[in-house]
């Protein structure tokens, strides 16, 4: 990225690649209300959107689905068959409420990144994925202690059966760190980093296109601008896929953690 910027900078007069500072540190929408920034607005909008669409679909569900219900049911089925059932088995239905909420909310958060005008993935601010990951983490520990007992939970986690005795001494700290600290951290950071990087890339290429085709149109710069536009279009497609994929993975990991707490298998 920095290398690219250096290469391109001389071509356009004063082209500067967008810095994370510009892209992610956004000013308040209403001057003075410091907390009311674009991500906050979009987070609220996402919640309203998720509730609105789901309400339209499932408030009075029909036996034979039609219209919105059909579409949202597709999402519900996806979560049930790809996320809940593989990891929770017969407990899947009890956790569908949580998993559907998480999946839909994260999906809309992410998709905000490619919606024209809005164009900001909410999850690229770490606070939002962190909150969800924290809730899941709390639930995981709570369920683990509830279903396996306080001692049993940590014993099952840190002393997986089937290992030679002395090696436990070396492995137990790894298991603890991996399960209790790294897992929730990566849960949030994976989503955050993907959205952050995706937004950077999109912003960079669209900026290139805009700069070289509209701001400073030169014979030399025009092809670069075209490349920027083409890349923006291609990356938008890729980004939509990644946004969906990350929402799926986030929900899947949530299901995995819950399932692991309900039934320790190893």
């Amino acid at each position: 990225m920095n290398a690219l910027t250096v290469l391109l900078a001389p071509a356009g007069d004063q082209f500067g690649a967008p810095t994370p500072e510009e892209l992610f540190n956004l000013p308040p929408i209403i001057p003075g209300v410091y907390w009311f920034t674009k991500p906050v607005l979009l987070a609220m909008l996402s919640a309203v959107l998720v509730i609105g669409v789901t309400w339209a679909a499932f408030a009075k569900p029909k036996l034979v689905p039609r219209g919105v219900q059909n579409a949202v049911e597709l999402g519900y089925m996806f979560v049930r068959d790809q996320v809940a059932r593989p990891f929770l088995g017969k407990d899947a239905d009890r956790w569908m409420g949580l998993l559907v909420s998480v999946f839909f909310l994260v999906l809309v958060w992410n998709l905000m990144g490619v919606v024209p005008v809005l164009q900001f993935p909410v999850a690229s601010h770490i606070a939002f994925p962190a909150v969800l990951a924290l809730v899941i983490y709390g639930l995981k520990v709570y369920l683990g202690i509830k279903h396996q007992g306080g001692v049993g939970y940590f014993k099952n986690m840190m002393f997986p059966p089937g290992l030679p005795k002395p090696i436990y001494f070396l492995l137990a700290p790894i298991e603890f760190l991996s399960n209790m600290i790294i897992a929730p951290f990566t849960h949030a950071v994976r989503l955050f980093a993907n959205m952050f990087a995706g937004h950077m890339l999109l912003a960079f290429f669209s900026m290139v296109g805009f700069w070289f085709l509209f701001e400073k149109l030169t014979p030399l710069g025009a092809p670069v601008g075209v490349v920027g536009v083409v890349m923006t279009i291609l990356l938008t497609g890729l980004e939509i896929f990644i946004q969906y994929l990350q929402a799926f993975l986030f929900a899947m990991l949530a299901a995995m953690y819950i399932g692991g707490s309900l039934h320790p298998e190893h």
């Binding site: 997986p160 059966p161 991996s178």
Partner: protein, 71 residues
């Protein structure tokens, strides 16, 4: 523990479990034993234990994943 019946869908669960616990186990191993080595280095004024710890951690993390899911 393994009293829980094995349904076919649990195979997918095992696979995903393994996939997700490989990096985090390796990372945890590195962090713990690398950190231990680093502390030891500082205490003894040496610089050998940190790399040893990191390598040991990776090996242990890999071994752990292998024993849990490899068979």
């Amino acid at each position: 523990m393994s009293a829980q019946e094995r349904r076919p869908e649990n195979d997918g669960r095992d696979f995903a479990d393994a996939m997700w616990s490989v990096p985090s186990s390796l990372l945890a191993g590195m962090a713990i034993y690398g950190g231990l080595g680093w502390l030891l280095d500082r205490w003894l004024g040496m610089s050998a234990f940190f790399p040893i710890g990191v390598v040991l951690g990776v090996v242990l993390g890999g071994y752990l994943v292998y024993r849990k899911f490899g068979r």
